[in-house]
């Protein structure tokens, strides 16, 4: 049954819906602003903000409430990048990769540029992914279903290889940090229901709360780094906020369309899968861009492409999760689960039939999100102009303020002292690791991906009847992914080895020639 790519009638009625519903438009700007501000506070996630506003959506129309919620989602996706770039403390796992290159740029005094890059990459990733959604929401949502645990495992392994890339002075210590992260991620109920390492604390049954742990690790290690300095940016002449520089960053982002495209394809396709979300998208997008680059060693030291890749990856995952939410009724993560609740509060049965019966609403949401992109650009410019001033705050004041905000944020996440306590414990760990040259980002990557990799590894083992070859043979997408992964891992060393061999044989040849002459 061939369906037209665009249902013109539904599109027309969606325009009518949007044109007649001024409340939906009125809610867009505060939604984005709320998301952006919330996201900029370390520890406050879009899911938390959405859960807070959920009861209020009861008094809105279905369209208004969905638009309000996607606006918050959109704003938060960029908001989390701000502390990641300015202070090296990502507000959520979705911005971890953003901090890898964004923060070194700030330290060099290129904070304006980095924020501009992030804003443009976020906006383009957001709009681009919604454009893909506009033309192919049905196709995307069904393509996503073709990814089984094996494919997911390979994608996440891709992200996990970042551990080796995020090295400090010693490769072995980075691998150990990554392993520490993975081991911490195994605390709690295993995917096969074995209780591991909880010391009989029921709070640990679901594992270590990732966000407070991550903030603790990053914040404490930065505290240690900054102990001897008085300002984030050491050169006082660079300690300024320049809109011109921010704009230059935005234009710079446009020079890397391939990086953005890669991020938005990754975000729009795998972002919607349950348990994947923005955190995985931004790591995979970053890892992929780094590996495809001619100078992978320049990443992690302030390469603008790193910021673009990370931000386009996480911003576009919103569209991915909206695709599976609206077309299949499957929530990809905590944020879309709250939106699902909003649908249910409006007596809407979500699921595949929602796309058929309410295509006009779906189109209206997509169209509104194009506009959201533009609004985010304007609001974001104002907000980063304001927020970038943190570089003028002396570190001795800034660090305690961040820690207090993060403590509140982590309390908000867990609703009890478990969050702040986790932050303190991991702060100590981060401080120790930083002091002894163990890579903190590698540990965080292990922490974020470890549990997901294990769950998918186990499911692959189970579904294949204990690694029976016939299962793998029947999965062409996985085979392609595996080949790509192997290629990206080993192509460079093999090429280098090959070049060395050729050089050696050429040298030998020349030597022989010289001898015979």
């Amino acid at each position: 049954m061939e369906q037209p790519v665009i249902d013109w009638q539904a599109l027309q009625s969606s325009l009518h819906l949007l044109g007649s519903s001024y409340s939906a438009w009125l809610l867009t700007i505060p939604g984005i602003a709320l998301g952006m501000l919330g996201g900029a506070i370390p520890g406050v996630s879009s899911a938390l903000i959405l859960a807070i506003v959920l009861p209020a959506t009861l008094w809105m129309s279905l369209l208004s409430s969905l638009i309000f919620m996607t606006a918050i989602y959109t704003g938060a996706a960029f908001g989390v990048a701000i502390p990641a770039i300015l202070m090296g403390v990502p507000g959520s796992p979705a911005a971890v990769a953003t901090s890898f290159d964004g923060y070194p740029m700030t330290q060099r005094g290129e904070h304006n540029l980095a924020l501009g890059l992030a804003l443009a990459a976020s906006t383009l990733g957001h709009m681009g992914a919604y454009l893909i959604l506009f033309f192919g929401i049905g196709i995307i949502s069904h393509a996503v279903l073709k990814l089984g645990p094996l494919e997911m495992l390979l994608l996440m392994l891709w992200g996990l290889t970042l551990i080796a890339a995020l090295r400090g002075r010693y490769v072995s210590r980075s691998l150990v940090s990554g392993l520490i992260g993975i081991l911490i991620a195994t605390i709690g109920l295993s995917p096969r229901d074995v209780i591991r390492g909880t010391f009989d604390l029921p709070e640990l049954l679901d594992g270590v709360p990732v966000v407070p742990a991550m903030i603790g690790l990053f914040a404490a290690s930065e505290l240690f780094n900054l102990a001897g300095t008085s300002y984030l940016v050491s050169r006082s002449d660079l300690r300024t906020v320049r809109i011109g520089e921010i704009a230059r960053g935005m234009i710079e982002a446009l020079r890397h369309p391939i990086v953005i495209l890669r991020g938005l394809v990754i975000g729009a396709t795998i972002g919607g899968l349950p348990g994947v979300g923005a955190a995985v998208c931004n790591l995979v997008s970053y890892a992929e861009t780094r590996r495809g680059d001619k100078h992978p060693e320049s990443f992690g030291k302030g390469n603008p492409k790193g910021v673009i890749a990370a931000e386009s990856g996480n911003a576009s995952s919103e569209a991915g999760s909206m695709a599976t939410l609206l077309a299949l009724g499957i929530p990809g993560g905590a944020s879309s689960a709250v939106m699902l609740a909003a649908l249910s509060l409006h007596d809407v049965t979500s699921g595949p039939q929602f796309l058929d019966t309410s295509k006009d609403v779906v189109y209206a949401i997509i169209l509104n999100n194009f506009v959201q992109g533009a609004i985010m650009l304007a609001l974001g410019l104002g907000l980063i102009g304001l927020m970038a001033n943190v570089i003028r705050i002396p570190v001795r004041i800034l660090i305690p303020v961040i820690l207090v905000l993060a403590t509140f944020g982590s309390y908000g996440l867990s609703g009890n002292m478990a969050g702040p306590l986790t932050m303190v414990v991991f702060g100590l760990l981060g401080w120790l690791m930083q002091r002894h040259d163990y890579s903190v980002p590698a540990c965080v990557v292990g922490l974020i991906l470890g549990g997901k990799v294990e769950a998918n590894l186990l499911q692959t083992y189970q579904i294949s009847g204990g690694w029976q070859f016939s299962y793998f043979a029947g999965r062409p997408i996985a085979m392609v992914l595996l080949l790509l992964l192997l290629f990206s891992l080993f192509s460079r060393p093999i090429m280098q080895w090959w070049k060395r061999q050729r050089a050696a044989s050429a040298a030998a040849l020349q030597e022989n020639k010289a001898k015979s002459a």
């Binding site: 645990p149 995917p191 096969r192 349950p274 249910s344 039939q353």
Partner: protein, 349 residues
């Protein structure tokens, strides 16, 4: 004339004679205390006097949360105060349930949770430190059944075909279940009834039902066992082939019951409900505040008999059973008896 005059009366009389400042103040204080007391009494009569909170021991967005949010406005209307919903997820409902128990047992907080199977696992596996006796389950409002689903266009299109394949070629058919769920138990009981080892199916464990349904919809699994009611929205992608229930369900396209399909094998399998969603209060509320208990009970009962609420809940696919306290407890205990019988499955995971 009284033989034993009341001491405070005499003091009062004395005080009345010597109106010094201190006794006057004492009188004022006394009056204030009396006033306060009566005010408090008045408050007790007008309970509830502040917002009531429904703690939900899961994340926002799931069936438990949806049920609580559907009840909140209705309860608010009945009780005359705002009713808030607070999600406290974590640890197979253990954290939210423990949080609820840690609050004052005064009726200002209610709990929406899953007595079966979650509390059973909490009590028997996770050493929760609470027991069924700590709660009064006002009513099990929503009992999910386990459905057996196959992907549309999947390898098998009937439960009989699945059973035959499992028996003919053990270890080749994959089955998805959520870990620590009613379904997990039902799959184990089923294999046991068929006298097959646990390895006869490729059991694939998921941490939640949404990813499991996604895997089914994408034809990643041969079949899956998952809460029937929560899967209704996916029926265009997955097909129900059987249900663990005493009778076929209309909403599940009248798919046969598991025991109907098993009849030719001469087997009847035990099964537990997928999950029970219940509104719960403290066990000691009835003694401490009988009036509050009665108010809550009556308001809730009234809501579940209100056609307007029932119609609204039906739209959201929320069930509205009224079993009452006694029958609810019996139902939970019946499920626990089956869990006890197959307790070995708990540690076999």
């Amino acid at each position: 004339m009284m033989l034993v005059p009341k001491p405070d009366k005499t003091t009062e009389q004395k005080d009345a004679k010597l109106v010094t400042r201190r006794p006057f103040l004492r009188m004022l204080a006394g009056a204030a205390a009396m006033g306060g007391l009566s005010a408090r009494r008045a408050v007790a009569a007008s309970w509830p006097d502040r917002p009531i909170t429904i703690v939900v021991s899961t994340n926002a967005g799931g069936g438990f949360d949806t049920m609580a949010r559907s009840l909140a406005p209705a309860l608010s209307k009945e009780l005359g105060v705002p009713v808030n919903v607070l999600d406290k997820p974590g640890g197979a409902m253990l954290l939210g349930t423990k949080y609820f128990l840690s609050l004052p047992h005064d009726g200002n907080t209610l709990l929406v949770s899953g007595p079966s199977p979650y509390w059973y696992f909490d009590i028997n596996k996770f050493h929760a430190g609470f027991d069924l006796k700590d709660f009064t389950v006002l009513n099990v409002q929503w009992t999910d059944k386990t459905g057996v689903f196959v992907p549309k266009g999947g390898r098998f299109q009937s439960f009989r075909a699945i059973l035959d394949a499992i028996k003919a070629q053990p270890g080749t058919v994959s089955c998805g279940v959520v870990r620590d769920s009613g379904e997990f138990f039902n799959s184990g009981i089923l294999l046991k009834s068929l006298k097959l080892p646990p390895t006869a199916v490729r059991l694939v464990t998921y941490e939640a039902s949404a990813p499991l349904r996604t895997a089914l919809a994408g034809n990643q699994l041969d079949f899956g066992m998952v809460s029937a009611e929560a899967s209704l929205s996916m029926l265009s992608l997955i097909k129900p082939v059987a249900v663990f229930s005493d009778a076929p369900m209309e909403v599940l396209q009248n798919a046969p019951t598991v025991n109907d399909v098993l009849k030719p094998d001469g087997i009847t399998a035990d099964f537990v409900p997928s999950s029970m969603r219940a509104l719960v209060t403290y066990a000691d509320l009835k003694q401490r505040y009988p009036d509050r208990y009665a108010k809550l009970h009556d308001a809730y009962k009234k809501i579940l008999h209100d056609p307007e609420y029932i119609a609204k809940a039906k739209k959201q696919a929320i069930e509205t059973d009224w079993l009452g306290e006694k029958q609810s407890l019996e139902k939970i205990k019946a499920a626990y008896a089956i869990f006890d019988k197959y307790k070995a499955l708990l540690s076999a995971q």
